[in-house]
C-alpha cells in the first residue's frame, strides 16, 4: 500500500511537471524561436547570416517585467512582444516577480545575455542602486518604468500628474453636479505601495482642496490594496456619516474602486458618492458597460500598459538613431469615462481579453 501511494505521488509529480512545461504547439512561427530557461525567455529572430544587411538594425532588448502574475505585468509583456515582433527585434524577457533580490539577479542575467538595451520595472527601490551599478558597469543603456531608479531615465506614469488629472476631472464634475459643494473627501491609500504611488490619490485631494469647492472634511482610508478591506472600511465610513450625501472618493487603483462600489451598493447609497481612480482594467470597464455608465465610478485615469512596449520601442529606436534619452518620459494618460470609453476600450477589443 505504502509503495503504491509513493508510486502514485511520484507519477502525479511527474504529470504535474509535464503539464507545466510549455507545449511545443504553443511555440511561435518558424521565423522566431522561444527558449524558456528558469528565468529567461528569449524570442529570437531568424539567424543573422540569413539577413546580413539588416543585422545592424536588429536590437536585442532586455525586459525585466514587474510581475507577470498580475494583469498589469501581462499587458506590459504582451505590448513588448508585439512591439518587438513588429520591428523584428529580439526580446530577452525576465520577470522580477515584485522581488528586489530577483530584480538584481535578473539584471545580471540580462547583462550576461548581451542585450543592447534594458527596460527595467523594479518595485523595490532599495536595490535600485545595485541594478544601476550592474547595468552601467556593462555600459548598457537602461530605462526604468513607473518606479524611479536614481538618475536612470524614467518612463511611465507620473503619479503626481495622474492624481492631478483625476483631481481636475472631479472638480469639474462636482461643480456641474453638486453645486460646488462636498461633504467629505475620502482618499483610499495603500501605504505599502510607497509614497510615490499614493500621489495618484493624494495629488487629486490636493487639487480639490486648492479649488473653489466648498469642502467639509477629508479622511484617508487605508485599504491595504485589498478590495474586501476597502469595502468594509468604506461601509463603516458610510454608516458613521449617515448625513453625508456628497462624498468624493479617490483611489490609487481599481481594487479601491471595486470595494467602494460594493460598499455603496450594499448600503444603498450609490447616489451619495462619486469615485475617481487611477488605472483602467476589467473592474472599471466591464461593470461600467453593464450599467451603461450609470455608476458612481465617474472616471479612471488610464495609463495603457499594453502600449508601453510600442511607446518605449519608439524611444529606443530614436536613441539608436542618435536621439538622447530624456530624464522623464511620460506615458500616454487619458481620463476614461462613459463619454469616451468606446474610443479607448471598445467592448469587442478589450486588451485583457487578448491575454491567454
Amino acid at each position: 500500500m505504502k509503495k503504491l501511494i509513493a508510486l502514485l505521488l511520484t507519477l502525479l509529480l511527474l504529470a504535474g511537471l509535464a503539464a507545466c512545461a510549455k507545449p511545443a504547439a504553443e511555440q511561435p512561427a518558424p521565423a522566431e524561436q522561444t527558449t524558456t530557461t528558469e528565468q529567461t525567455t528569449t524570442t529570437e529572430q531568424a539567424p543573422a547570416d540569413e539577413t546580413p544587411t539588416e543585422e545592424k538594425k536588429t536590437v536585442k532588448l532586455g525586459l525585466a517585467n514587474i510581475n507577470e502574475k498580475a494583469t498589469f505585468g501581462k499587458l506590459v509583456k504582451m505590448g513588448f512582444e508585439d512591439a518587438c515582433a513588429a520591428r523584428g527585434w529580439e526580446l530577452v524577457y525576465v520577470d522580477n516577480n515584485s522581488d528586489g533580490a530577483q530584480a538584481v539577479q535578473n539584471a545580471e542575467i540580462l547583462v550576461q545575455q548581451g542585450v543592447d538595451f534594458i527596460v527595467d520595472l523594479n518595485i523595490d527601490q532599495s536595490v535600485a542602486g545595485t541594478i544601476v551599478d550592474i547595468v552601467s558597469a556593462a555600459n548598457i543603456p537602461m530605462v526604468c518604468v513607473d518606479i524611479a531608479m536614481g538618475d536612470t531615465p524614467f518612463f511611465g506614469v507620473d503619479s503626481d500628474k495622474v492624481g492631478r488629472m483625476a483631481g481636475e476631472y472631479s472638480v469639474n464634475w462636482v461643480n456641474e453636479n453638486w453645486g460646488g459643494e462636498v461633504d467629505y473627501i475620502v482618499c483610499f491609500t495603500a501605504i505599502a505601495s510607497g509614497d510615490e504611488v499614493q500621489k495618484r490619490a493624494r495629488s487629486a485631494v490636493e487639487v480639490m482642496q486648492n479649488s473653489d469647492i466648498k469642502i467639509g472634511d477629508t479622511v484617508e482610508i487605508e485599504y491595504q490594496n485589498d478590495t474586501a478591506v476597502a469595502q468594509q472600511r468604506f461601509a463603516d465610513f458610510l454608516t458613521a456619516h449617515p448625513d453625508a450625501h456628497k462624498i468624493v472618493c479617490y483611489g490609487i487603483n481599481e481594487f479601491a474602486g471595486t470595494g467602494a462600489i460594493a460598499a455603496g451598493e450594499t448600503a444603498g447609497r450609490t447616489d451619495d458618492f462619486a469615485l475617481f481612480t487611477c488605472g483602467v482594467g476589467s473592474q472599471f470597464v466591464e461593470p461600467l458597460y453593464e450599467v451603461q455608465g450609470n455608476s458612481p465610478w465617474k472616471t479612471a485615469v488610464a495609463a495603457f500598459p499594453e502600449l508601453y512596449g510600442d511607446q518605449l520601442c519608439d524611444i529606443i529606436e530614436n536613441y539608436f538613431n542618435g536621439v538622447p534619452l530624456e530624464p522623464l518620459m511620460p506615458c500616454k494618460l487619458v481620463c476614461v469615462d462613459w463619454s469616451n470609453i468606446t474610443e479607448y476600450y471598445p467592448l469587442d477589443d478589450l486588451p485583457w481579453k487578448k491575454l491567454s
Binding site: K74, E222, D236, A240, P242, Q283, E286
Partner: protein, 325 residues
C-alpha cells in the same frame, strides 16, 4: 455536596465559562466605549453592517474551531477562500446561475479540504507544515485560474447572497447565524462533536477507545473545506468579483477569533459560542475603529493588544502566574 452539584450545573451551562466571561466582558466594554465615542455606533444599521462584514470570516471560524479542538490546524483557509471566489467568478462568468455557481464553489471547497485531509490523515504529514504548503499551492491555483486577473461577477441573484437583505436582516448574517447554530449543535449534541473533543484531548486514548481518529480528522478537513466554500461564496458575492489575492489575512483573523473564544491550539478545548463571541469582538473592534477613522496601523496594534490581553487574563485566571513552568 450541594455546592458541588450547583457548580457542575453552571459549568455545564457555560462550557468553558471562564473564557466566555472574559470575551463577553471584552465585547461589552467595546460596545460601551464605541457608543460613547462614536454617535452613530449604537444604531441598528451599524449592527447589521457588523454582521454583514463579519460573516465571511465568521463562517469559516466555525469549522476552524472544530479543527483546532481536534488538535489540528489549518492555515490555508485564506487561500482556499480565494480559490473558491475565483471558481465562483469563473462559473458565473460562463453563464452559470446562482445555484450552479454556489454548488460548484462549495464542491471546490470540499475538494480543497479533502486534499489537506489526504496529506494529513493518510500520509500522516504534520498539519501545520501541510497547510503552509497548500496555502502556497492554493494561492497559486487562485492566480492560475484566471491567469492572475480579477474577474467581475454581474449575476445579481448571486450577489444577493452577500449583499441582500431578508426582512431587513443581511442575508450573509443569516447564513452565519445558521452556520453557528448547526456547528453548536454538532459540537454539543452529536457523537461526532464529542469525539472531536476526545481526540483533541487525548488522541491515543481515543484511538484505544475505538474512535477512528484519522477518519474523524479527515471529515473535519472536509467540513472545513466546505465552510471555506461558504466564506468564498460570501466574499465573491459581496465584492462582486473573483480576486486571486483576496482573503490573504483571513487565516489569522479566523484563528484570532477561535483563540479569543477560548480554544486551545493544543486541542481538546474550545466552544462554538466562544468563537462566535470572539469573532464579534474582532468585528466590533474593527468597525468601531473604522467609524472613528483610526489609522490602519493603529488598528493592527490595538487588535493584537486585545488578543494578548484576553489570552493573558484567561491564562492568569487559570493559574499561569503560580506555575513554575
Amino acid at each position: 455536596m450541594k455546592q458541588q452539584t450547583k457548580k457542575r450545573t453552571l459549568s455545564d451551562l457555560m462550557g468553558d465559562s471562564s473564557s466566555l466571561l472574559t470575551v463577553i466582558g471584552a465585547l461589552l466594554v467595546e460596545i460601551v466605549v464605541f457608543a460613547i465615542l462614536s454617535p452613530n455606533f449604537l444604531t441598528v444599521i451599524n449592527f447589521k453592517n457588523i454582521g454583514l462584514y463579519a460573516a465571511i470570516v465568521g463562517c469559516v471560524s466555525c469549522s476552524v474551531t472544530l479543527v483546532n479542538i481536534s488538535g489540528m490546524i489549518d492555515i490555508s483557509v485564506g487561500s482556499q477562500i480565494a480559490v473558491v471566489g475565483m471558481v465562483a467568478a469563473l462559473v458565473s462568468g460562463a453563464g452559470g446561475n446562482w445555484v450552479g455557481t454556489t454548488a460548484a464553489s462549495l464542491a471546490v471547497g470540499v475538494t480543497l479540504g479533502a486534499i489537506n485531509g489526504f496529506f494529513i490523515t493518510v500520509l500522516k504529514l504534520n498539519a501545520f507544515i501541510t497547510t503552509i504548503a497548500t496555502m502556497q499551492s492554493f494561492r497559486g491555483l487562485a492566480f492560475l485560474l484566471s491567469d492572475g486577473m480579477s474577474l467581475t461577477i454581474s449575476d445579481s441573484a448571486f450577489k444577493f447572497i452577500g449583499r441582500g437583505y431578508i426582512l431587513g436582516i443581511p442575508m450573509s448574517l443569516i447564513i452565519m447565524l445558521v452556520c453557528y447554530l448547526v456547528f453548536h449543535f454538532i459540537s454539543k449534541y452529536t457523537v461526532l462533536g464529542r469525539n472531536v473533543y476526545m481526540i483533541g484531548g487525548n488522541p491515543q486514548a481515543s484511538f484505544l477507545a475505538g474512535i477512528n481518529v484519522n477518519s474523524l480528522r479527515f471529515k473535519l478537513y472536509l467540513i472545513n473545506g466546505l465552510m471555506c466554500g461558504v466564506s468564498g461564496v460570501l466574499l465573491a458575492s459581496q465584492t462582486g468579483a473573483g480576486i486571486p489575492n483576496a482573503a490573504a489575512n483571513y487565516n489569522m483573523t479566523a484563528l484570532s477569533a477561535v483563540i479569543l473564544g477560548g480554544a486551545a491550539l493544543t486541542g481538546g478545548k474550545g466552544t462554538i459560542l466562544g468563537t462566535f463571541l470572539g469573532s464579534m469582538v474582532l468585528a466590533v473592534l474593527q468597525n468601531g475603529m473604522n467609524m472613528m477613522s483610526v489609522g490602519a496601523y493603529w488598528q493592527d496594534i490595538i487588535i493584537g493588544a486585545v488578543l494578548i490581553l484576553s489570552i493573558s487574563i484567561d491564562a492568569i485566571k487559570g493559574g499561569s502566574l503560580k506555575r513554575k513552568l
